[in-house]
Symmetry: D2
Subunit: 384 residues, 4 copies
Amino acid sequence: MTRKICVVVGSRANYSSVKSAMRAIQQHPDLELQVVASASALIDRYGAVVDLVEADGFPIHERIYMLVEGENPATMAKSTGMGLIELPTAFDRLQPDVVVTVGDRFETMATTLAAAYMNIALAHTMGGEVTGTIDESIRHAVTKFAHIHFPACSDAAERIIKLGERPEDVHLVGCPRIDLVAELLERDKNGLGPDLFKEGVGGKFDLNQPFLMLSQHPVTTEYGDGEQQITESLMAIYQLDMPAIVLWPNSDAGSEDVSRGMRKFREHYDDSKIHFFKNLPADAYISLMNCTACLIGNSSSAIREGAFIGTPAVNVGTRQSRRQRGTNVFDVDYNREEIADAITDQLRHGKYNMEPIYGDGHAGERIADILSTTSWKLQKQITY
Amino acid sequence: MTRKICVVVGSRANYSSVKSAMRAIQQHPDLELQVVASASALIDRYGAVVDLVEADGFPIHERIYMLVEGENPATMAKSTGMGLIELPTAFDRLQPDVVVTVGDRFETMATTLAAAYMNIALAHTMGGEVTGTIDESIRHAVTKFAHIHFPACSDAAERIIKLGERPEDVHLVGCPRIDLVAELLERDKNGLGPDLFKEGVGGKFDLNQPFLMLSQHPVTTEYGDGEQQITESLMAIYQLDMPAIVLWPNSDAGSEDVSRGMRKFREHYDDSKIHFFKNLPADAYISLMNCTACLIGNSSSAIREGAFIGTPAVNVGTRQSRRQRGTNVFDVDYNREEIADAITDQLRHGKYNMEPIYGDGHAGERIADILSTTSWKLQKQITY
Amino acid sequence: MTRKICVVVGSRANYSSVKSAMRAIQQHPDLELQVVASASALIDRYGAVVDLVEADGFPIHERIYMLVEGENPATMAKSTGMGLIELPTAFDRLQPDVVVTVGDRFETMATTLAAAYMNIALAHTMGGEVTGTIDESIRHAVTKFAHIHFPACSDAAERIIKLGERPEDVHLVGCPRIDLVAELLERDKNGLGPDLFKEGVGGKFDLNQPFLMLSQHPVTTEYGDGEQQITESLMAIYQLDMPAIVLWPNSDAGSEDVSRGMRKFREHYDDSKIHFFKNLPADAYISLMNCTACLIGNSSSAIREGAFIGTPAVNVGTRQSRRQRGTNVFDVDYNREEIADAITDQLRHGKYNMEPIYGDGHAGERIADILSTTSWKLQKQITY
Amino acid sequence: MTRKICVVVGSRANYSSVKSAMRAIQQHPDLELQVVASASALIDRYGAVVDLVEADGFPIHERIYMLVEGENPATMAKSTGMGLIELPTAFDRLQPDVVVTVGDRFETMATTLAAAYMNIALAHTMGGEVTGTIDESIRHAVTKFAHIHFPACSDAAERIIKLGERPEDVHLVGCPRIDLVAELLERDKNGLGPDLFKEGVGGKFDLNQPFLMLSQHPVTTEYGDGEQQITESLMAIYQLDMPAIVLWPNSDAGSEDVSRGMRKFREHYDDSKIHFFKNLPADAYISLMNCTACLIGNSSSAIREGAFIGTPAVNVGTRQSRRQRGTNVFDVDYNREEIADAITDQLRHGKYNMEPIYGDGHAGERIADILSTTSWKLQKQITY
């Protein structure tokens, strides 16, 4: 009998993290895909992800408007409340066998509770990892409600089992985002048109020559140190006198410190070999990861996508301290000498072989296969 | 500086489980008590617990109507959603330092998420225990959001630590319900007036002579076996030819089977020494536990309150299989010989000394003391 | 092209008021019926009307749980809010051409606003009448949102036009409840089995002989006068020394006064010819209206159903003061002599011919016909 | 005894419409002002009106986040639902004697229903006017719930009475927005600094010489005609060869047509005497109305503020067709000759005396005075 699998897509990040699984579910003979679009996935000013989903060939079964305006902690809770009011009606109509929820954003709790309270099996992707902030609690709480776990790496799989889940319910499948990376690199080995340098500011150079890449964000728990931290990385690159692409930091607390460090560097040092980007399309970023001589900074991409692509990487500081990593990553402190030495070592080593730590590009298919055959225990009980 | 402690009371059971802590918080010089009444605590047909709370001298700061009628899984989720819409506004107004949530009922998730999303420290009582049903997932999920844990027994405390919580955040305080038991027994050593037998049906007898008590509920995972299970217990009592009080089962699935077994017994056997009760006031039940020669069945009271009171108990079957227990409990199978033998052993032993497994009657004071001094880490991270 | 007509049923009273229209819509070749069950229609303790609706052959397209427990003014507003959150999603899925809403209960505003805000034409039954309480404001506010009006009597139709609605949008169709009366009387000319007197208390008598009926409720604006008011009516009946059926009052404020008057009467006077009913099934009540010699009191049924059935009626006091009425109704004051004289006059007159003031039994068909052909103006504007 | 007056502010427009009344209530010895900020008044991207309100010296008693993102008809209804869930709790806490609601935006229904269902007297400003769209229905529906009416003009007052409201509940006070106009003109007779022409594009000129002003919006019911309509007005101005300020249209449906007409005019004709503004601060607009030789177009300001300021105005077309107006307004068709002739007549006439049709600048004080003394009937009943 065909199993009905209902995927709830709540944001752009959500969608990237589950898209390959959705396609595999759609194509699987024993599965029927149901799509619920909710939260920011429905909102124009967040990019109307729902239109993208439809354009990719996935019919939308339900649209659940749940975001309460205000963008503060209270409205985050209220939005979850709105989801909890409407999602049960949607699930009641769709009667799915399994609801799939992704990751750890606040709206994930609405999907999780609605499914769990209604006695519908819950599958959870990307559980078991460690970060910080409220996401951390949400992620592990979802694990305690989920019946089927799809962690992205072995470390996370072990943590889910330590949380008292049954090993037979934990399926190490890899991260479905890596599936999209694999496709992109397959499809378009050199996705970098000549127009890349039309955006951003600073020097331009030949991407066929060895170049460095720097992506370094503020560390929220080290607030105030961002300027010094980025300066060390920039000076390491400057010493090596190689062309480099530098990305502006994300908007986490402390972002202004990092930006100030970058602006001061540009004012005092020759940046004729360095190009600065505010925004870089996701595909271009992946393509650059595929051809850079070394990716420096503290982006999770160096570790997650990097392991798959084989990008030589120098991870600076504490931001990724508890994330499982492959041999492509050298860890160093916020110190220009250490950073420069590590880059030099990576230049000597060159590109790495693929390590499937966060998946081998087939996570989506695995998820669909497992969903088509696995059994679960609706009445959960902690294993210890 | 005085800390503001906000207790959310959502039901009658909730209130019994936190009342002694509320009183201790109210009386503590460094704490200020805030009370939010919500869910069934506000509803007349559930006994208007809120009036009781006020009569006990606790002012109600907020009333959050959140129960959506329907009493089905969908409205359970919707009710939680309603709570999530209103509780943040209440917390925003009250600005508590700590929110206290109790146990594992569905509405507990609303309190938990509202506090957690709003960056308010969350204290949780009675976490870490093992049961079944959706309560099990809710309880452990709340643990993953809570900053301060007040488990009732050492077993639960260890489980909370295994769930990746920091040991310094886990405070073994005992169960505040035991505080009420202690008070009752202190106040009223023989709370059983001559009117006890006015309710119920069957034989009457002198409570100063040794008598048995039977409280046995359906086991939802052994649906269909209830009639045979209760019959074994009843026949064991019958063989012993002692006076006994027998309680009707609760309303869990399978309740009808147990009731049928009891009805058939009454039709076929002499029940002149056995008195059957549909409802017994909580205080009378505790008083009977204090003077019965042996409590038989599968009620959690034999284990929790029993350890404190020292009630000789024979626990039948699997319903309490994962609950921590003291020496007062003998475990036996659904077998009349085994049960009768165990009762005989208990009669020989007589009353036990108090074992503080689920508390020594001072849980509430401990909770208040700890809340007045403990520190916590608002940004949680799993310990492994 | 077939028009989709979505009827929202929110309570038992709602359903009786729209059932004949639902059937006519369902049978109409150019209409497609959609049914949304909501509010108390879904709740077991209000009689699970939704099961009745299904048993009558109407498929339920959506179930909207919206009642927030508490039964106070705040939860009345919150329940309407819940309806407003979910009904738009339901209407979005059903895409009706017209939404039909009934009467003036608080949940009607949820249906009304959801349809109006979503630019769906709204049809309203039983608008334009005058009562009191919050229903009065709700009814006229719904009129200001509705595009198609189905008043039950000419008086109400005129009032709707005075409220600034276009005459061409106002269709005097009669009350669909009368359709059910017509059917009942057609089907079962004497629906009164021999078991009628098994319920209730007091004297029994032969229903083939002339008998009186008394149905008198408290007048909320004359709070405190209920005992005296009912006593006058009872004494009038007592003076006439005829057998009578007396109904207990409804639960409006002041109900206790009326009940006290009835109890005192029973204590002091011979009631061997009077039978008192707490609850009388709706069908039995209608059958009794069809054979009673005179209906006394202040029930709206004397006026509405009475005009159709031809029941001789004596309307006492102010409760029905602004309701349009036929020749079958004599109005008198709270005065035993006046009441007795009016009854005597009615006995002399005997049964009346049908007056179609509140309909001729074909309201449902008319509503369906009009819905299939009428046009409307989605952008309303007041006519003056 | 002091009466508590609770004003619900839901948007920037709301606030301008009630600000002078809020101040008068705050200063009145017998009144106590309560402020609830809700809907877009709380949202940063709508200008965080709540901060403005606080800066103006009004304390905010409650903040009700109720806007559900999506900006479509369904979320308009859902947002109203959110308001209905939270406002009753706020009103329950504030216990106001009167709730004041403004105008006809969708969120006004939440305030209205919450107050009405909770048996709190409702005062409504700016009722009784005629427009189109859903606002029209909302405005009249609010009238049917309101107990105290504060219409802005005599025409509206009469319409409220025709709607069946008691004349003694209808208080013609004028529009509180005019109070702000009066203050502005008092404070700053020439609020137009030399920087006016720094914004916008086109010719610059001396504002001390006679100049024209054109503010013309699309007429939603004449969709598609906007380009031709604006062209007639522009050509009329062009023929007169006078300096002019032209405002870009608002964003109603058809806006693009009007804009196209303006762009084409600029391409084909000399605009060295015409200055075009996209946005003009409200204060500058009022100051310009005070010194322009003639205001042309179809803005309501020509009629409302114009009557008070005495601005010579030529109202073109149907957009204001049912709005009460003074002698300062000449009505003409979409025809360049007619328009030019009417302008010429206005130039000859010059400025008008103040006509208090929409108020004399003292509406706020009147509202406060009436609220302090008036009585009302909580149980409303239509007058006919």
